[in-house]
């Protein structure tokens, strides 16, 4: 079966200036400009954002689930990388 859908884009929204862009989902669009408009219409209807990035999905290189063992498991054994061994300074609510 041929895929008659328009190209796929990933959408990233920044909720406020200075905050990181977050991946919110994907959509189909003919080109970058229409992808931006569609992202505006689909993902910012309830004032979720102040800035949008759209990226062609095919430009994203993803890790392979089969590589999960060598990619991610080694760090599970390295709990000293979590800052859990510090004593909280008095008065600090968060580290």
């Amino acid at each position: 079966m041929t895929d008659t859908q328009l190209p796929l884009w990933e959408v990233f929204i920044q909720s406020k200036t200075g905050l990181p862009y977050k991946h919110v989902g994907s959509l189909h669009a003919a080109d970058a400009e229409m992808a931006l408009e569609n992202a505006r219409d689909v993902y910012t209807r309830r004032s979720e954002g102040s800035s949008i990035w759209v990226v062609p999905s095919e430009c994203i290189t993803a890790s392979n689930p089969e590589d999960a063992e060598e990619f991610f498991e080694p760090s599970n054994a390295k709990i000293y990388r979590h800052p859990t061994f510090y004593v909280m300074p008095e008065g600090a609510k968060n580290i």
Binding site: A29, A30, E37, N38, R40, D41, V42, R45
Partner: protein, 253 residues
Amino acid sequence: MTTQEALFKYTLRIGDNDLILGHRLAEWCSYGPTLEEDLALTNIALDLTGEAQALLQYAAEVEGKGRSADDLAYKRPERQFYNSIITELPKGDFGYSIVRQFLFDAYELPFFQMLTKSKDETLSAIAHKAVKEVKYHLRHSANWVIRLGDGTEESHNRVQKSLNDLWEYTGELFEMDEVDETVLKEGIGVDLTLVKAEWDETVNKVLAEATLTRPEDGWMQTGAKREGIHSEYLGYILTDMQYLPRAYPDAQW
């Protein structure tokens, strides 16, 4: 004609355009060619309905006979609606709806931009808010006209045909009568010849980019905006739209 009478009809015309076109666009809800466009069209429909609400509310105030915006939307008969015919034509295929939307947006943006300078504070405030919305409508519809016109042979032919079919309904948008002259003289209304000049510029630019041919000006359909003489289609919209408030006049929701 008193200024008050002219202002009432003038405000109704703007509000009725938005109400009826908003209704036509809302008919795309769940029928859009893609989910993205379904949302885009219904977003625009909601913008138009919101603008209509503000305008009809003001029209009711100007009239001063105790009617509400809802009364004007849901209890007027066909002959008392003053939208231009182009807004009430059936939605057709996606290309047709988009071309109609583009022709209308290209009119409504400069219209509202000029209306922001109105001496009437309420109309000016409504226009200020609407300009931001309509800018996006025009951007969206123009982008689609360009992509469909300069797309495949099928999409090109369909939007060219829609353009040819719709052309005879564009003249009415720029028609001026006693109502327009009266509010223009008072510094309340907009000179539609200036709107037409901007419309021509936008339409020519977008059609050229879309590789579409601008139809020749010929006979123009008219009568709805001036006297409420509509195409056969408005009655059906009103039947849909007014059914509930007429069947259950005191319904609350």
